[in-house]
């Protein structure tokens, strides 16, 4: 029995085909599930924020029911975004060096500032100005600890006269306008972290930041659709179909652009067939077949494209219930597909040797910092934070 178990352990040891540099022959990739989650969560933040901006900046009235939910989603996910990055560091206690003594030619160093800017100067402020009047009202009407919390959030500013509220709106609008390029910058930078690695033909790609931004928008909008539908279901409310249709429309068009850009990337790779192309081809066919061909392309892109596309063409002919289900399935598949895309980029980029002569195998464990369990916990954490925020800041009668 013990022998059988030992044999099992031997089986999950890394397997290499061809030649890999000796330093690459480690048991698992240097960047694993934690670094897969980091761009995924950051992307959801950027996308959810863009979703909120559609209401604030572009005045899409139909989306008003999800405005606050989108902002809170962005905020909850942004709070959790640096955690996987932090956990994967060899010396997390030195993380503040990135901010204190940044090396300005490093994309990762600049990310620290972009993140701080986005969290402190954009999202937090926008939320505060949006909620200020409510905080004042709630602090007066809510008793106990919750009331105390609301009073704390007002930071002592209790002026709710008409000019003050108007100023809030004005500042909120400006912050939203500033927030859009900031959201692009945030996720573009994440893309640049990978796109700037010229040593790796899978990553080093000028389109990478744009691909990341577009997939972020797609996943963020999909998350808002998902959250909105789940929340209304939990609260036993009816979904605002007009709002859902408009979200579905934006989701579809964002997905079309995203698919086009990623397709362009592949066409360019295949046509130019540069030095690393053979190994990339092998990766796509063999190593990443399930996550790339099935997960990202078929389930994560084509099926949602067909579902959402059909709804664009024949919305009126599809009954409401079916429409709701189609949106929900489409959004969920997109969320999975973008996660698969992050996996393909991060893990895929490390499954072949930089000698371009061999490939590595990787089987993710369950336990440990880089295992399934930790990944699932980190992925659920933003939803837990969001639940608390929704409880505090999104009262049921607010949600029409």
């Amino acid at each position: 029995m013990t022998n059988e178990l030992t044999n099992l352990v031997v089986e999950v040891m890394p397997r290499f085909e061809g030649y890999v540099y000796p330093n690459e022959a480690t048991q698992q990739p240097l960047w694993s599930i934690l670094i897969v989650l980091y761009p995924y969560i950051t992307g959801l933040v950027a996308g959810a924020f863009i979703m909120a901006s559609l209401v604030r900046v572009f005045n899409v009235k139909a989306l008003e029911p999800v405005y606050r939910l989108s902002l809170l989603t962005a905020f909850a996910f942004l709070l959790c975004a640096p955690l996987p990055l932090l956990f994967h560091l060899g010396h997390p206690e030195r993380c503040f060096e990135v901010m204190m003594t940044p090396h300005l030619t490093s994309p990762m160093a600049i990310f620290g500032f972009v993140y701080a800017w986005y969290l402190m100067a954009v999202l937090l402020l926008e939320l505060w100005f949006d909620y200020r009047r409510d905080f004042v009202a709630w602090s007066e009407s809510t008793p106990g600890f919750k009331g105390l919390l609301y009073r704390l959030f007002t930071v002592g500013v209790t002026d709710v006269s008409a000019p003050a509220v108007q100023l809030d709106h004005k500042i909120g609008h400006i912050l939203s306008v500033v927030g859009i390029p900031s959201a692009f910058l945030l996720h573009g930078y994440v893309g640049f972290i990978f796109g700037s690695v010229k040593a790796n033909p899978w990553w080093g790609n000028v389109l990478m930041p744009i691909i990341f931004i577009m997939s972020a928008m797609v996943s963020g909008i999909a998350l808002c659709v998902f959250n909105y539908m789940v929340l209304t279901w939990i609260r036993r409310k009816t979904v605002d179909m007009k709002c859902l249709d408009v979200m579905g429309m934006y989701l579809f068009y964002a997905l079309v652009v995203d698919t086009a850009i990623e397709g362009l990337d592949w066409i360019h790779r295949i046509y130019s067939a540069e030095e690393g192309f053979r190994v990339i081809q092998y990766m796509a066919r063999e190593k990443l077949f399930y996550t790339l061909s099935l997960g990202q392309v078929a389930c994560g892109t084509l099926v949602p494209l067909i579902l959402l596309g059909l709804l664009q063409l024949a919305r009126r002919r599809v009954p409401e219930l079916a429409r709701r289900r189609m949106y929900f399935v489409g959004a969920s598949l997109i969320l999975m597909g973008v996660l698969a895309m992050r996996w393909n980029v991060v893990i895929g980029g490390q499954l072949f040797s930089k000698s371009l002569r061999g490939v590595m195998g990787y089987k993710m464990g369950f336990a440990g910092l880089e295992g399934w369990f930790m990944g699932a916990v980190l992925l659920c954490l933003p939803f837990v934070v969001l639940t608390v925020m929704v409880k505090l800041f999104l009262s049921e009668h607010d949600q029409k």
Binding site: Y19, Y21, P22, N23, E24, A25, T26, L30, W31, H88, L89, G90, H91, P92, R94, C95, E97, V98, T101, P102, H103, T105, S106, P107, M108, A109, G112, I193, S196, V197, K198, A199, N200, W203, E275, Q350, S353, K354, S355, L356, R357
Partner: protein
């Protein structure tokens, strides 16, 4: 539009250029001083990095694949057991083409079991099918435009003024970005210190007048080490450049390695 060039503007531009030229060495010296004060290295206190330019070169024609260099490096630098190497030796076997295939060459087979420390297994193809077989020692390529230095978020890895690319272990946060950025696979994340590690040219030795451990033990002088600032014409390093046509690895990446190779094939990456 008339291009007006006044005397004042010419004098202004000239003096700016002169000031720039004069400021460059001052800035360089200031950077060296700052590095000396702020950065932890293995050099002795009286060592002046601005007075040297260390470099290594590899004459692959001489390498016999004994692996002593890789073993000496592991011992000298306390490199952890397992897939962690600051230097290693690859074996290349290029087979003859199949008769009638119309190809100039056959397959290229590369291996490097345990960095070459314990030798190599028998060639996977019969001797008569081998067209070429040779060994290639690998180490930090001493890039002039090091991608590893460029991407480090805290500046823990840096170009020392004497040509070595070093890591300050007290500063490295262990993010692994430099390991991803190195095209040559020369870096690893130490499971002991949880920081990035790499070949330092045995900095603790060279700054005390000794040779790197790998150079010291190489029985065939396939590894040539020298100080370009203080080299005399008869020194092995200058003789190497004089007598060989050289190449660097992955030149298309623009990293401008200072580590030159003689006697390697196009298949070496």
């Amino acid at each position: 539009m008339k291009n007006h060039l006044s005397r004042r503007s010419v004098i202004g531009r000239l003096s700016a250029a002169v000031a720039g030229v004069l400021a460059a060495p001052v800035a360089k010296a200031a950077k060296a001083v700052a590095q000396k004060v702020l950065v932890t290295t293995d050099a002795p206190k009286d060592y002046d990095p601005t007075k040297h330019k260390w470099v290594m070169a590899i004459d692959a024609n001489r390498c016999i694949g004994c692996g002593f260099c890789a073993e000496a490096c592991k011992k000298e630098n306390h490199v952890p057991e397992g897939p962690y190497f600051r230097t290693w030796v690859e074996r290349y076997i290029i087979t003859k083409p199949k008769p009638g295939s119309g190809a100039a060459r056959g397959e290229t087979l590369v291996d490097c079991p345990n960095g070459g420390i314990n030798g190599y297994p028998e060639a996977p193809v019969p001797k008569e099918e081998i067209q070429h077989s040779f060994f290639v020692p690998k180490l930090c390529n001493l890039c002039q435009h090091s991608p590893c230095v460029q991407v480090c978020p805290v500046g823990a890895t840096f170009d020392a003024p004497d040509g070595a690319v070093l890591i300050d272990p007290k500063y490295c946060i262990g993010c692994g970005f430099c390991i991803q950025a190195c095209p040559y696979g020369c870096r690893f994340l130490s499971p002991v210190t949880k920081t990035a590690e790499k070949c330092t040219l045995c900095y603790h030795r060279i700054t005390r007048g000794l040779k790197p451990a790998c150079v010291e033990v190489c029985p065939t002088q396939a590894r040539i080490f020298g100080d370009l600032t203080n080299a005399k014409p008869e020194d092995p390093i200058l003789q190497f450049y004089q007598n060989n046509l050289v190449t660097a690895l992955k030149p298309h990446l623009g990293t401008e390695p200072r580590l030159f190779y003689a006697g390697i094939d196009k298949e070496v990456r």
